[in-house]
């Protein structure tokens, strides 16, 4: 793929850009070509066709970052092409061994393209979301010297839907107009003419081909959400608000289940667990909106799901943190740690097999179906649910104030001699508060909620590191017996000791930061604000 002159220009001086339009119904590319031919000296090149697969993470991180990543198979092999909305030239990487289901970062060849993707996709897998075939005709607009001064690409995209004999589904034909570096004026004339277009003008800024193709394939172009999207009114009944949020969260659990079962990447399970954890918070914090008995059953069901998914997630965290942790110990110990990592990988595989068995088993189906029925069914007489008819703004506000006060008391009792479990309990309470603010914070002014979330997040991050290192160190210490009998065991044990020391050191560092983080969270003005706003 040739770098585009306009892209270089756009990166340096963004006055010459690519502009996309959708052709309105009844105007096809030949009609637009005839229209252009009447107004400018043009050369129309032969139509060229290309097929590609749209790659993105399940939560569309690339789209959010303004990046398109296509997998193109051609005679010369398969390659990845990355295009940026920001105007940089495309990055291309050859793929030696094309994969069917996913690409993790480590599957990509080293180079600029992988470096660019790294901070965006992180640990997420790049998945094939749609397959597109585009027939495009390039029309070059010339000046008096027959020099190209603007380019117009007329494209007829199609989504290929279904596997095997894929069925082509036509997408909206579109026009891309791009400038040539140093020829801004002709570009302006061409753009103005295209915008007026035949039959009353073209559609600016159309939905992207990728999004249209994903939708044609039955997918959601927005990908799997991690944020709850429910319009709540302050005066809404608490039970209805709670159910609306819980239904949205249940959708997230279900959306992440196939990716979890296929083990596409670690974040499907993570996001599934977060959705379950948030649901548990809602049931706990808004318990007055439900009858005690079905509530207890459903809370047990969700707690069980949380429990069966825990071991795999703990080991995922160990492996995700591995490079970071190992980087902090002397290089001459790294090789000795290989058996430790191998053991973690084996444990993780075993934990995942057990998890998959559970998630595919009758107990999970029964628990989940029961929970869904609970959300869809009659919640019972409102008179037996004291908060049911209360406005959500009152009930959620009361809970935010209460949990915040409880955290203040718990945090104030923590000193250098407090056991790690005290910090863990505070963290659990902090999660409750965070979920309340994330799920219901929209009922209050953003200017109040945002700083509160920020100081809470900083405290939680510190508590999270503290707890993760505790769990990791405990787990690694527990590997000692198994390691001792393996090849390279003695050396691995010594290196393991260094690694555990490093975990302890990071835990201590986190703990040292506690006083300052908690002070910010518990600042007098923050307390006054909470008392005032959430009263």
């Amino acid at each position: 793929m040739a770098g585009q002159a306009w892209q270089t220009r756009q990166a340096m001086a963004p006055d010459v850009a690519i502009v996309s339009y959708a052709l309105p119904t009844g105007v096809d590319p030949p009609a637009l070509l005839a229209y252009l031919d009447k107004r400018f000296p043009v050369i129309a090149e032969a139509e060229a066709s290309r097929s590609y697969t749209v790659l993105d993470t399940a939560d569309r991180r690339l789209r959010a970052a303004g990046v398109d990543l296509d997998l193109e198979a051609g005679r010369g092999g398969t390659r990845l092409v990355l295009r940026e909305a920001g105007g940089r030239a495309p990055l291309v990487a050859d793929v030696r061994r094309p994969r069917r289901h996913r690409y993790l970062l480590r599957d990509l060849p080293a180079g600029q393209l992988r470096d660019r993707l790294g901070p965006i996709v992180e640990m997420r897998a790049l998945l094939p979301l749609a397959t597109v075939r585009v027939g495009a005709q390039l029309v070059r607009v010339l000046n008096a010297d027959d020099k190209t001064v603007a380019r117009v690409s007329l494209a007829r995209p199609m989504a290929l839907v279904g596997s095997g004999d894929a069925r082509p589904v036509p997408l909206t034909p579109r026009v891309d107009v791009s400038g040539v570096l140093g020829y801004a004026k002709p570009l302006g004339r061409v753009t103005a003419a295209v915008r007026r277009g035949p039959k009353g003008g073209l559609v600016d800024d159309p939905v992207s081909v990728a999004d249209e193709a994903i939708a044609a394939n039955g997918g959601d172009p927005d990908g799997i959400r991690t944020k709850v999207r429910v319009d709540l009114r302050p005066d809404q009944r608490t039970d209805r608000a709670a159910v609306a949020v819980l239904v949205d969260l249940a959708g997230m659990v279900e959306a992440n289940l196939p990716g979890t079962l296929a083990d596409l990447d670690t974040e499907f399970l993570h996001d599934l667990r977060v959705a379950v954890r948030r649901s548990r918070s809602v049931l706990r914090e808004l318990k007055g909106a439900f009858l005690p008995e079905p509530l207890a059953t459903q809370r047990d069901a969700l707690r069980w799901i949380q429990a069966i998914t825990g071991p795999t997630r703990d080991l995922d965290v160990q492996l995700l943190d591995w490079d970071h942790l190992v980087s902090g110990i002397p290089a001459d110990r790294h090789a000795a740690l290989a058996p430790v990592r191998a053991l973690l990988v084996r444990h993780r595989a075993a934990a995942f097999r057990a998890l998959r068995r559970e998630l595919r088993g009758p107990a999970y189906r029964q628990a989940w179906d029961g929970y869904r029925s609970f959300l869809a069914g009659d919640l019972g007489p409102a008179r037996e649910r004291p908060d049911a008819k209360q406005p959500i703004v009152d009930v959620a506000g009361r809970r935010i104030r209460k949990v915040y006060s409880r955290m203040l008391a718990m945090g104030a009792d923590i000193d250098a001699a407090s056991p790690a479990t005290d910090l863990h309990e505070l963290r659990k309470r902090g999660k409750e508060l965070r979920y309340l603010l994330e799920l219901f914070g929209g009922l209050w002014p953003r200017a109040v909620v945002k700083p509160m979330v920020r100081s809470l997040k900083e405290l939680q991050d510190m508590l999270g590191v503290h707890q993760d290192r505790e769990v990791q160190a405990t787990y690694l210490r527990g590997l000692a017996g198994e390691l001792a009998s393996s090849t390279g065991g003695p050396a691995a044990l010594l290196a393991l000791g260094v690694l555990v020391d490093r975990l302890d050191a990071e835990q201590h560092e986190a703990r040292d930061a506690f006083a300052a983080r908690f002070a910010a969270f518990a600042a007098a003005d923050q307390q006054a604000l909470v008392a005032k706003v959430f009263s």
Binding site: M1, A2, G3, Q4, A5, W6, T8, R9, A11, M12, A13, A89, P90, V92, R140, D145, D146, K147, T148, R151, G179, V180, L181, G182, Y183
Partner: protein
């Protein structure tokens, strides 16, 4: 950004033809490519149908008073941009001499473009001058077209000595035979016997004396674009395939 300069002390040896064709091939290979037409005759600019005119002239440009970005022009080859020639470049020696550290100047002019291009190709005027010294300083690779003749060895040795002795930043020298007429015995002999003294590299690919190359002035396009399957275009492709790894792009 890696910098390649097509250079020979003699004129009419195929520098411009090599510069425009290799630059076009680089762009076709997906490299973001810049071609700077340093020759006041402006042949490369002409071939791309771009006016050989630089606002403020060469003097302002080398003094750092022009925004080089504003002077760039896109060519008809996607991915290839041109910094055009200007007739004032004929006085570039004087303009350089009036600056501090004149031999570092051209490197400085293109430095702001480094993040936007993978490759810069400098098409140099013939001669050994302050301009060529500044080109040697800016270039990672000097690409030297050689017409097979008895004087070739001598000219070449001169260049090797000069670059070794006078230039602080020594570019890699890569040579190739240009305008080769296989019917001439002398050409055949020189091509097979040229010693590689003072040369980092003489590549195997040779550019033939071909009508298509001469027709570039009529077509006003690189031969690799206007006649991509011609013998000359194939020779440039073969040359680029040999040169590219030596440039490191």
């Amino acid at each position: 950004m890696r910098v390649v300069a097509t250079y020979n002390i003699k004129g009419g040896v195929g520098k411009t033809s090599a510069a425009v064709n290799l630059a076009a091939l680089a762009a076709q290979d997906g490299l973001r490519t810049l071609l700077w037409d340093l020759d006041p005759q402006g042949a490369a600019s002409f071939l791309f149908r771009i006016r050989p005119k630089v606002k403020g002239g060469g003097g302002k440009l080398v003094r750092g008073r022009s925004d080089v970005v504003d002077l760039l022009r896109g060519t008809d080859v996607e991915g290839l941009d041109l910094l055009p020639a200007d007739f004032s470049y004929r006085h570039m020696d004087l303009a350089l001499d009036a600056t501090g550290k004149p031999t570092r100047r051209l490197r400085k002019v293109i430095a702001p473009l480094a993040e936007h291009y993978d490759l810069a190709m400098l098409d140099c005027p013939p001669s050994i001058s302050l301009v060529s010294e500044s080109v040697f300083d800016a270039a990672d690779v000097l690409l030297v077209p050689l017409i097979p003749s008895t004087l070739t060895v001598r000219t070449f040795a001169q260049l090797g000595d000069f670059v070794s002795g006078e230039v602080a930043h020594r570019p890699r020298i890569v040579a190739f035979f240009s305008m080769v007429d296989g019917r001439k015995r002398l050409h055949r002999e020189v091509v097979s016997t040229l010693p590689a003294s003072n040369m980092d590299d003489v590549v195997a690919s040779a550019i033939p004396a071909a009508t298509e190359v001469e027709l570039m002035g009529v077509e006003r396009a690189p031969v690799v674009v206007s006649a991509p399957h011609s013998r000359a275009a194939r020779a440039y492709r073969s040359l680029w395939d040999e040169v590219r790894p030596r440039v490191g792009v």
